[in-house]
Symmetry: C2
Subunit: 307 residues, 2 copies
């Protein structure tokens, strides 16, 4: 499934070279197998397991796991050292989607081309599935990372990126800013918290799991921060431009929910220029390790993506 | 606040000896200071911080943190090694209360004598405050436990206890069992998941943080499992017996929500006998370390508590 999906993505995207396409397909297949191994089955815990697997098995670009593996390779590590962390980042990303889609937040119905978890299952099960996936993410990193890697430091970094100082804090700001006056500083803080922090920490954890030194870890984290911010700016642009069928989720939702968006503050043209500049900066940080070409190609793909 | 509150608890409870009373007051004061140090402030993240602090600063017996510190002392460790874990267990417990009280779950209004978080703040903020507290718990253990302790193993144990195999799974079973035929095996699984697993892991993590050997860790975990199950049976009994004012939360809620409870299956008299037997078994596991007297007194207090 994952390979077929990624192959389709790639075929639609003329800017993606063959090396990146095959790496992404490889990364998606590896992380899908790891997720299947780490997630409970219906025999373990019934509907809770089904709800936890609902979105994970429903597609997704596996962008964050690919970044984890790429950062690990960039510092000379083996993918085996980082595959658990790669799966954990997809668990965290998916938990955040499940909770963000809840009726009390974005009240979405469609995600990754299928019903949201709280639509397909009771709302309480959706909340608890998200809780259990967040919990499992920390467990999987601790259980699956070699003991000689800095597991404690990785857990601290993930906590900061996913918690009040990162993703959860960004979501609160995002909800509070609905209907607010356009303000670039506020949009930046929301996007840094909601999106860039988790993408940044994907690179950071991959490099740490791969045994990278401090300078490489910080260089890759910077790359991730810039690519992450560009990713969200492009997401805002796509929300205004493409169909729900292409995106596999509700679109135009930002405007419907009166969300503060980057193009909403600076206009579409300037937003495209800002994303380009961030990717150009990321290309500088892509240099210095063993995977410069793939890191550069992935940063460019963020700009050219259509879904 | 904490010391005054615990002193009042103790004065009302004639079965609690002076040593246990002073230990509980001491543990509550230490963990309250640690929580205040670890939680964000309103200057950090506004309403999210206020929502995260709402229930934590609103009382609570600090039962799980006291068990963490006691297990650490029992194996000869310093409380300093386990104080971060003690705070983390209160964060996890509080996050579970916030999510369990949500409209889509127990739809409670009153907790620890004040409005539930989703009543005092927007529902979305309550969901995210719970998410951020769960995230912070893992971060605090990793950041605050000495590096020579088995941090990775502690994170794995906490993940299992709090996630699909433990607390989150128990809550799903609890909701699914509303209105079901009385079934002791099902009630046991719900109580083991929802309550005993977190109390058990409080002992386990405290012993691990204190440098305890495998046998002591397992002995204290067994003590925790039995005390935890007894604690929940007593909770079920109190729900039928005492006033909301005494409990500081909605009572009679189990019957209102058609919950499966231990006394609902076996009757009040047998439930009291079952709790007594579990505490007697725990008293055996209380033997072998440096804090047998306090562990025994705490197990007895679980039976005699009035709130």
């Amino acid at each position: 499934m994952a390979e077929a999906r990624e192959a389709t993505d790639v075929a639609q995207d003329e800017d993606t070279g063959p090396d990146l396409a095959s790496f992404l397909a490889h990364a998606a297949a590896r992380v899908d197998a790891e997720l299947d191994r780490r997630l409970p089955t219906v025999a373990d815990c019934g509907d809770l397991a089904a709800a936890m697997r609902h979105l994970v098995t429903g597609g997704g670009k596996r962008f964050r796991p690919a970044l984890v593996l790429l950062a690990c390779r960039d510092v000379g590590g083996s993918e085996d050292d980082a595959i658990a962390t790669a799966a954990a980042m997809e668990l965290i990303h998916t938990y955040s989607l499940i909770h963000d889609d809840l009726p009390c937040m974005d009240d979405a119905k469609l995600r990754r081309g299928k019903a949201c978890v709280h639509v397909a299952y009771p709302e309480a099960t959706a909340v608890l599935a998200g809780d259990a996936m967040l919990t499992l993410a920390f467990e999987v990193i601790a259980a699956g990372t070699p003991a000689h890697r800095p597991i404690g430091g990785m857990i601290v970094a993930l906590g900061r990126a996913a918690g009040w100082a990162g993703m959860a804090g960004g979501q609160v700001l995002d909800l509070a800013a609905e209907g607010a006056e356009p303000d670039l500083d506020m949009v930046r803080r929301i996007h840094e918290g909601k999106t860039a922090s988790l993408i940044e920490v994907s690179l950071r954890l991959g490099a740490m799991a791969g045994g990278g030194g401090g300078e490489d870890v910080e260089r890759l984290a910077r790359y991730g921060h810039r690519v992450g911010l560009a990713f969200q700016i492009v997401d805002d642009l796509l929300d205004t431009e493409v169909s729900a069928e292409q995106m596999g989720k509700d679109v135009g939702a930002d405007a419907d929910n009166d969300k503060l968006t980057w193009p909403g503050v600076v206009g579409n043209e300037q937003a495209r220029a800002d994303a380009r500049r961030l990717v150009d900066e990321a290309l500088v940080d892509a240099r210095g390790g063993r995977e410069e070409a793939l890191l550069a190609a992935l940063a460019e793909k963020v700009l050219s993506r259509r879904n």
